[in-house]
């Protein structure tokens, strides 16, 4: 199943571990039974987990998750308002596998720090148009 061309979904949630499951349900609703569904869930879970672990001090902030289909490409965005990449770079073993995993599962992946603060991750997945 492919989401309709141009279909755009945005959600803003509290960056808490308890919301990770809800984010995966968003992927289920958006993508349905697509060959990329599991990979998108893994990537979003890791990206939002990074925001939860490193993005906010003290206490949880918010994270914005965006899903958008452009032709045969699924664009996924995760934006937090936290303390930026410095925290993410201080990752410990195991947690430090997150970014390599995201790179392995996506066509392209880019992390940036917007001028207003926080961290933005943009990832792209190639969808199978014949599915």
């Amino acid at each position: 199943m492919m989401p309709p061309e141009g279909k755009h979904f945005t959600a803003r949630l509290r960056a808490t571990p308890e919301n990770l499951s809800a984010i995966r349900r968003i992927v289920d609703v958006y993508l349905g039974e697509n060959e990329k569904t599991d990979d998108v869930k893994l990537v979003l879970t890791e990206a939002v987990s990074n925001a939860i672990r490193h993005g906010y001090d003290p206490g949880p902030g918010y994270v914005t998750v965006e899903l958008r289909r452009e032709g045969d490409v699924l664009c996924v965005g995760v934006q937090d308002d936290g303390c930026g990449l410095a925290g993410a770079r201080a990752e410990t073993r195991g947690a430090g596998l997150g970014l390599p995993l995201i790179e392995a599962l996506t066509e392209t992946m880019e992390i940036s720090e917007p001028e207003g603060g926080g961290t933005t991750l943009q990832a792209r997945f190639q969808l199978d148009a014949s599915a």
């Binding site: 571990p17 499951s21 995966r24 599991d38 990979d39 869930k41 879970t45 997150g98």
Partner: protein, 127 residues
């Protein structure tokens, strides 16, 4: 507009089929939210002197936080002279992450409960 999405509850069940072996079954979806629950379940069995089988055959999702918890548990077990064995099934997303992280290369693993228990009990000699 506020939408609500159901969550899939993470459950941890513990069984002790042998005096020296505990089976910890992870059901539902496991991620950063259930790390304390999983860590405590494995740690308490290791501290009680048991080897541990972690059964992920019915697990619907695991993330890297759970993989790291299992890696930490393996180290703790080695320090105590115990072992942690993975019993894995065919849930595609779970298998995919275990393969991508090469977790199965680092753990003894079996595809059935009996074999996993035997593997875990091997060094105790009471299988």
């Amino acid at each position: 507009m506020v939408e609500h999405f159901d969550v899939i509850v993470a459950r941890v069940e513990v069984d002790t089929p042998l005096p020296s072996v505990a089976v910890i079954v992870l059901k539902g979806e496991h991620d950063l939210a259930s790390v304390p629950q999983v860590r405590e379940a494995i740690g308490s069995q290791l501290e009680a002197g048991r080897n541990v089988v972690v059964d992920v055959t019915e697990t619907l999702f695991v993330d890297l936080a759970i993989v790291k918890t299992l890696m930490d548990a393996r180290e703790e077990a080695q320090g105590l002279g115990r072992r942690v064995v993975i019993e894995f099934g065919t849930t595609p997303v779970v298998r995919r992450l275990l393969e991508l992280t090469a977790l199965l290369d680092q753990f003894p693993h079996e595809d059935s409960r009996d074999k996993a228990i035997r593997e875990a009990a091997e060094q105790e000699g009471d299988a």
